[in-house]
Every structure is written in C-alpha cells, then in structure tokens.
C-alpha cells in the first residue's frame, strides 16, 4: 500500500514565488463574457485580488427610447432586455400597463402567457447550463442543451412568429393564439427536452471534475445575497425561499402545482443544480397550463386598448378610426405610477412605469435581476483562481441586455 499523495493546495505552491499584482482586461469581446461586458481583473499570480465589472457596451437607452414610443412600441424594446427569455419580459411589462389601465387579461391569454413564459424559462436555464458545461470543457453538454433549446425556440417561433424578438403580448392578451396542432407538437417535443436535460444531469451532476471546479466556488450566504439584492436561482441556491410566483402569485400561477427547488451552499454548483431542477418544475407547469387552458378570446374586444380586427379596419369607419388613433397616437393610459414584479428567468423582473395620460409612457425603469447579481461579482470572485472566474460568471447568468438596458 502506498500512501496517497499529499493533497496540495495549488495556490500554496505559488506562495514562495515572487510576484507583483497585474491588471488584465477580460472582455468586452471575450467569448466567455456573455453579452458584452468587461472585467478589469487584478491578479496576484493565479489569485484574483480584485475584479471590477464594467458595463455599458450593450447600452441601448431602454428608458429613453420607451418614452418616445407608444405603449405597444415599447414591447420590442423589452424583447431585448433578457433576450434569452423575451416572453417573460413582454409579460412583465404588459402586466404593468394593464395594472395602470385597470384592465384584465383574458383567461386564455393568461394560460398562453404562462405556457410561453415557462418554455422561455426552460430555454434560459438550458442556455446557462450549456454555457457552464461548454466553458468547463464539457462540449457535449452544450450541444445537448442547445438541441433542447432549439426544439423549444422552434415552438416559440411557431407560436409568436419569431425565435427571439417575439413582441408577443398585448394589452389584455397576446398577439397570436396557438396555431393548429401546436399543442400536440409541444407535448411531443417536451419529453425530448426532459430526456436531454436528464442526459446533462447524468454527465455533470456527479462528475468529479465538474464538482471539483464548482463546489465551494463563489460561495455566498443567504443573508449576504439578500443584502446584495439577489433574486431568482442565485438567491434560492443559498437556501432562501423566495420566488415571486409563489410569494406573490400573479397571472394563473396560483392554480399550478409546482415546487420551488432550494439549494443550501450558495456556490456555483448549487446555482447549476437549481437551474436543472427548475427546468423540471417549469415542465410541470407547462403541462398543467396546457391541460387547464380554456377556450376563449386571446385579447379584449375593447377598441380603446386592442386593435380592431382587420375586417373592421378595412370595412368600417369605426374600425379604421380606432386603428388610426391606436397606431398614430397610442393607447391612452390613465395617469398613474405602478411597479409590477414577476419572476424572470434570473430573478425578480420589475417594471416601474409612470403614465401622464398620453399615448406614450412618461417614464419606465426596469428592475432587471442581473444588475444586483453582477454587482456582487467582485465579491464572489475575490480570492479565487483565475480559472474559477469563468464558471462563477457563467453561473450568475448575466444577460447584457437586461443589465445595461
């Protein structure tokens, strides 16, 4: 029996080596810097002593652009917030406008929004997991994840007409109903998505290399995460049970039977495992929503808020005038101020909307879940090795569009 080789801390080996702090730019165009963000990293040998994220390369002027657009013209801008799960952004924004007006979404459209939103959430998580795998050398995982995501994005394209820039919701409803045969199509492809998710599970979850690279890396406690403003999977990975869908149910989530998966350590591994579990929960929700979905209109027939049917626009003066006023001047939203908050794929997605009664928003601010989490990145990274930076950054799933708006 030979004695096992003594375990060495790889960083301890460097302790005696002379070194001076060095500042390195990571990004903004580095392939692992999802979106376009720059990290100004100061390293002492292999150890990161400081990492300052610098955002702004993807800044689109969301708030200002929105002020110069009619209420419905803002929708395409919201697509581009978290561009991996745009339906969730559409829904959150339109819920705010509906709250200002005091109009209810039609029953069927609520279910459609839940179906579309949960599919989007699955896509978002698959993208994140796939990227973690990819950047830790597990290219197969990435391929599986993207195959599953493509299945769902194809369904989204059939449902909304676009893969990513969907602009799908409308005040009091959605733009398009499920096409004929779409429901069965979705039901047929969901098992494959779960099968691929299980494959990823098998490949990564008990993988020694993956565990070594992620467990105990980028740890944050529940209290600290709350202090930083964490929400979503990153918060729940620390064991804090907060999901807007359960804590403050909106839409028809209170009619759905699903669980909130929780982590315990708040490290990169937990953030990964949590997303995996959430994919399965979202799958449950989608199936239930499809089962429960009632027939009915997908948008209101009140012409003050929804465009008249084309038959009326081309065939009646009432229809053409309503169409003209809605397009040229926008929907008249009563003066007021609301904050709506929903569970986005990465956490609480909130819209603060101010109306002065005109056809355009007076002001809009977005509470994107990514910004508070990204702001904690220096804290998560500090003291780790350079090689840990990418897995940590992957696991918080920063999306440039919603961080920089």
């Amino acid at each position: 029996m030979t004695e096992p080789a003594p375990q060495h801390d790889p960083l301890a080996l460097e302790e005696d080596l002379p070194s001076a702090p060095m500042t390195i730019n990571l990004g903004p165009s580095h392939p692992a810097m999802h979106g376009t963000v720059r990290l100004v990293v100061t390293v002492d040998g292999e150890t990161i002593t400081e990492a300052i994220p610098e955002i702004g390369f993807l800044h689109r002027g969301f708030s200002k652009s929105s002020e110069n657009s009619t209420w419905h013209q803002v929708l395409p801008y919201t697509d581009r917030l978290n561009y991996v799960s745009p339906i969730l952004n559409n829904t959150a924004y339109i819920m705010g406008v509906e709250k200002l007006i005091g109009i209810k979404c039609t029953e069927r459209a609520e279910y459609l929004r839940v179906v579309g939103g949960e599919i989007s959430r699955i896509c978002d998580h698959l993208t994140c997991i796939g990227a973690i795998g990819l950047e830790l050398g597990a290219y197969t995982v990435f391929l599986y994840a993207i195959e599953a995501r493509e299945l769902l994005w194809d369904r989204i394209a059939e449902l909304t007409g676009a893969r990513v820039t969907v602009s799908w919701t409308r005040i009091s409803g959605v733009a398009s109903d499920m096409p004929a045969g779409w429901e069965q199509h979705l039901r047929d492809c969901l098992p494959r998505v779960i099968e691929l998710t299980n494959e990823i599970d098998t490949l990564l979850t008990n993988n020694r290399i993956f565990i070594d690279r992620t467990r105990g890396i980028g740890v944050i406690s529940g209290e600290e995460a709350i202090d930083w403003g964490f929400t979503g999977p990153c918060l729940r990975a620390t064991g804090v049970n907060y999901d807007v869908r359960k804590a403050h149910p909106y839409s028809v989530y209170d009619r759905m039977d699903f669980e909130i998966p929780l982590g315990s350590r708040g490290d990169t591994y937990d953030r990964y495992i949590l997303r995996l579990a959430e994919i399965r929960q979202s799958h449950r929700i989608v199936i239930q929503a499809l089962d429960q979905m009632p027939p009915g209109p997908i948008v209101t027939d009140d012409w003050r808020y929804a465009l008249p049917p084309k038959k009326d626009v081309f065939g009646s003066i009432e229809g053409v005038m309503a169409h003209f006023k809605l397009i040229m001047e926008g929907i008249k939203v009563p003066p007021g101020e609301v904050y709506v908050y929903t569970e986005g794929a990465n956490g609480e997605l909130g819209f603060h909307i101010v109306s002065n009664g005109q056809g355009k928003p007076y002001a809009i601010q977005v509470r994107g879940p990514g910004l508070p989490i990204l702001s904690a990145l220096p804290r998560l990274i500090k003291g780790h090795a350079v090689a840990d930076l990418i897995p940590i950054f992957d696991s918080i799933n920063m999306i440039g569009g919603e961080v920089e708006q």
Partner: protein, 579 residues
C-alpha cells in the same frame, strides 16, 4: 348686425343673431357648478365655455365661439339643475347663478355615444386618404366617447365626393356631418353668403349657389373650421400628412395686417399656413392671399450665391460672392454714387443692417421699394401688400436717413438692394454695380452683378411692424437650411467686414441698436418680446377699417384679455385642434 335689446339670460337663444360679439348687457361674474366643481364664469358664457374654464371638456362639432349657435350636432348635450331629467345643449344654454351642470352622467355619456354612432352612419371609410386624418374631430371623439364597432348593416349613402367649391376649397359631401359652421362663417364673418344647406334629412349637403363659386377672400377659413374632412384646402390637398409637418408660429407676410400664423413645414419645405389666434390682429382668421404666401418660401428661390450677369453668371461659394461684391463696391465707396434700396418686405433687423451697410459705403441715398398695393377690405386685408412698411420707415428714422422712392434712382451708379421687390427693371441695366440680397429669382436678380441668397421671413428671427404699429416677432419657423440662404443682416455683416466695418452678428444685436436709437422702441429687448406682439402707441392710426380687429384701449403695450383664461386648451384653434 348684433343682438337688439334684451337678452334672455334664462337660456333661450343667446347670440342667435350674427356673431357673438356685442351683447349690450354688461358682463358680470356668476358662480356655477360643473360636475360638482365651482366655476366663476362670465354671465355671457355658455355651458361649454364655463366648463372649459376648469378644464372640463364638453364635446362639440357645430359650436364655434365666434359663430352663432346652431345646435346642429347634439354632441354637447348635458344635464342641468334647471331641467332635471332631460338633456340641454351646452352650446346654447347660458350660465346662471347657482346652476348645476353634469357632464358625465350615464344619460350624457349615452347621448354622446349615440350621437357619434349616428354621425358615422354614412361616413365613408376614408381616413387613409383623407387630409383631415390626424386632426379630425370625428377621430378624436370616436375614441373618447364611442369606441364601439359599427352596427350598420346596410350600405352607406353615396354623395358627391369632390365638388370644387372655389379656387381654394373642395367639398366631399360624404364626409360632411352638416354642422353648418362653414355656412355660418360665410354669413357672419366673411359676410359673403356663398354657402347653403340643400336637400333634406340624410340627403342634405352643403352647396354653393348656381354660377357663384366660393370665391370669397376668406374661403380658406371654412376649411380650418370644418371639424371633419369635408372641406379641404386644394392647395394643401394630398401634399403631406398632417403628422409629418412641424407647426411653428410666425407672422404672415401677405399684407401689412400682419396676421399671426402657424407655418407647417418639413425639412426646408413649408406646406401650409394656418391662422394663429390673436384677438387684436386677426382673431382666428386669415385671408386666402395670405394663406398662399408660403409658396415664395418654396418656389423659385435664390439658393446659392451668384456672380456675373447674363452669360457670365456663375454659382459660387458665399465667401467668393461676398469678396466679389466688396471688390466692386470698395472703389465706389464715398464717391457719391452709391445707393441702398430697402424693401418693405425686410424685417426691421434687415433694414437696420442695410442702413449700417449704407453708412459704411458712405451712401447718400436710400430708396424705399415695395410690392405694389392691391385689394383691401374693412376686415383683415390691407392695400399695402408688404408686411413691414411701417418698420422700414421707423428704422430710417432711427438712422436719421430720408427714404426716397425707388423711381428716383437715376444718377445712382452702384446699388445695393436689401430684397428686390418692386425695383424699376429698366433702370437696373444702367447701373455700374448692382448687388442684390434676394429671396426669389426675378427679373431684377438677372441684372445683378452679385446675388446673395436671402432667407424668407418664415425662416429667420426678426421683427415686423404692422399697419397700425404692432411690433411682432418672427422666428426660424422653417428651420432646415435652403442652399446658402442667410438672413439679410447676415449678408450685410459679411459685406461690412469685407469693407472694414462691423455688422450685426444676430437679429437681437440689430434690434438692440434700434431700441437705443428709436424713441418708439426704447427699453425693449428682442428676447423679451411677447409672442403676440405689442403695440407701439405713437404709430397708432386715427382711422380704422370698420371691422378690423383692434387693440383694446388702454392696454396697448400688452396683449388684450381673451375669452378663455390662459392655460386652458382652446378647442377652436382653427384646424389642428387634435394635435
């Protein structure tokens, strides 16, 4: 043509005669309640005006504050405490102490919805091709008071679609809602009854009389007050959608009345003029001739500087042109043969710059030129077809110079013209040197050695003085540049620096000098001039045309009070009310 004798204040037929203007009962203040809110109203107010004082909008098509009451459209029906259980027209019923008015009860709302539905029964599906689209009361009110699908299951009535009423007006009977504003306008304001309602019931339409086109000089106003797209301006028709043009205030240059207008433009092209409300100049009207003056801003412009006459003419950069003019003028300066012509189309600032340039050239003679006089009437049209004859004379006085008539030009060797209106063509060819600062190409610019492109009044900051001495601002209302065009004072400044002098670097600087020199303008500052202008008391004439709007006595230096308090939306800005 006013109310004779007693006025029925209990809500009968107030102002049913011509115009609303003179009611012999002295006004007093009464308290009424509109939707529970207390309003202090003028006893002459009807319910619409009383509600407007606190920003409550009672919708109407046929009512117009300056026309008699017709009660045609039924859109303004409201409930009052005087007639419980029934609806009364807000345009016709006048306020009375303690009256309670309800504008938002279910009965009122139901009437408004029903009214809109009936107005739309025979209305064609025309928004896409209608010029009024975007400033149409039907569109506004439909979204606000009806917003329901059509319930009509029959064909719509067909009527004449494009009746040419006159040189400026075309009529679409299908779009007409028979509010009769146009008929009342022609009867009461233009006082040329050229329109009438013919036929009956849903077949009724507006018509001209056989052999008598709508050729009044005020016919364009019927288009402005038409709440729908029935009467359209033939000059503007199909030229631009109204939401593409920018609306900017200015002053009409068509005659010396100086009607306040809005210029609507896109890029460097003006599309139409609309009257801008000024009780003391034009109320809310303007004449057809003035309406078309914007064409001079678009057509046949001198866009680039030019040197040489006839075959030798060549477009050049502004600096080369100025250098050439200086080269020609410099040897003649102080020789006694230099004259300066100043057109009555100039702003005061351009005129001042011309006198300054003349002084630098040691010119002995200054000439006054102008567009020839034309028609006049007793309302808004003045015979003097120049916007600023008074101003040019005032500026000459300020510089202590005598203005000669342009026909006295013989003996002048070199002429600098600030705008080229009314120059004697046959005498220009004899000039040794002719430098023209010109807005439009005409026969005289062809004779010039140097032509410098001048901005129109609609394109530059400045001031004008109308026939009765009202000083009014103009603005850079058509903002995009046209070629190398610049204000006249700017060209004068460039010539002056070439000649070794200094000129005005802004319109404000020119006005500052005028304010120092002219007793009429003492103490005035360019940036503090009111948008509505102010009266220079000493220029006020003794005689007035019978119906010309005039400043209120004793309030000459400020704008007179209006029937609507400041800050509230005036529903009857002619046209464009919805934007």
């Amino acid at each position: 043509m006013s109310d004779s004798g007693a006025v029925n204040t209990a809500g009968g037929q107030p102002g049913a005669a011509k115009g609303q203007a003179s009611i012999p009962v002295p006004p007093k203040l009464v308290k009424v309640f509109v939707d529970g809110m207390e309003v202090t109203a003028d006893s002459r107010d009807n319910l619409i005006e009383a509600a407007r004082r606190i920003g409550v909008a009672i919708p109407y098509f046929c009512y117009h504050p300056r026309l008699s009451i017709a009660g045609q459209c039924r859109m303004c029906l409201v409930e009052t405490s005087d007639a419980p259980g029934r609806l009364v027209p807000g345009c016709q019923v006048r306020v009375k102490e303690g009256l309670k008015v309800v504008t938002n009860s279910p009965a009122v709302k139901d009437n408004q919805r029903g009214c809109m539905e009936f107005h739309l029964v025979n209305h064609p599906v025309d928004c896409a091709i209608c010029d009024q689209s975007g400033e149409c009361k039907l569109q506004d009110y439909y979204m606000e008071y009806d917003h329901q699908p059509s319930r009509i299951r029959t064909y719509k009535l067909n009527k004449p679609k494009r009746e040419i009423f006159g040189p400026l007006v075309v009529y679409d009977a299908e779009r007409c809602i028979m509010c009769t504003r146009c008929v009342r306008f022609m009867d009461e304001i233009a006082q040329e009854p050229q329109l009438a309602v013919v036929e009956r019931g849903s077949h009724s339409l507006i018509s001209i009389f056989p052999g008598q086109p709508l050729d009044s000089q005020y016919s364009g106003n019927t288009v402005d007050i038409c709440p729908v797209g029935a009467l359209l301006n033939r000059d503007f028709r199909f030229q631009s959608r109204v939401w593409f043009v920018n609306k900017s205030p200015s002053v009409c240059t068509g005659c010396s009345n100086g009607c306040n207008v809005y210029v609507e433009s896109r890029g460097n092209v003006a599309y139409r003029l609309l009257p801008r409300r000024n009780e003391e100049v034009n109320q809310v009207w303007m004449c057809d001739h003035g309406r078309l003056t914007y064409h001079e801003t678009n057509d046949k412009r001198v866009e680039w500087a030019r040197t040489g006459r006839g075959e030798h003419a060549a477009s050049v950069g502004p600096r080369i042109a100025v250098d050439r003019a200086v080269e020609l003028l410099m040897p003649l300066a102080g020789q006694g043969g230099v004259g300066v012509a100043i057109s009555a189309q100039c702003t005061n600032e351009e005129a001042a710059a011309a006198f300054q340039l003349g002084a630098q050239l040691r010119a002995q003679r200054f000439f006054f030129c102008e567009k020839p006089p034309g028609d006049s009437d007793d309302f808004l049209i003045r015979a003097d077809k120049n916007p600023n004859a008074n101003g040019v004379k005032l500026v000459a006085e300020a510089f202590g110079m005598k203005l000669e008539d342009i026909s006295q030009i013989d003996g002048v060797k070199a002429l600098v013209a600030m705008r080229t209106d009314g120059l004697p063509l046959e005498k220009l060819a004899r000039l040794e040197v002719f430098v023209a600062i010109a807005q439009n190409e005409d026969a005289s610019t062809a004779e010039a050695d140097v032509v410098l492109p001048c901005e129109s009044v609609y394109e530059q900051d400045g001031t004008l003085i109308n026939w009765y001495g009202r000083l009014q601002r103009t603005w850079d209302s058509v903002p995009a540049p046209r070629g190398d065009a610049a204000p006249g004072w700017s060209w004068a400044e460039r010539l002056l620096s070439g000649l070794g002098g200094t000129g005005f670097r802004s319109a404000a600087a020119a006005f500052k000098l005028l304010a120092e020199r002219s007793p009429n303008l003492v103490g005035l500052s360019f940036d503090q001039l009111s948008d509505d202008g102010m009266v220079l008391d000493r220029l006020l004439p003794w005689q007035w045309p019978a119906r010309a709007p005039r400043p209120l006595p004793g309030a000459h230096s400020v704008r007179g009070p209006q029937t609507t308090p400041p800050g509230t939306k005036v529903g009857d800005e002619p046209s464009g009310a919805s934007r």
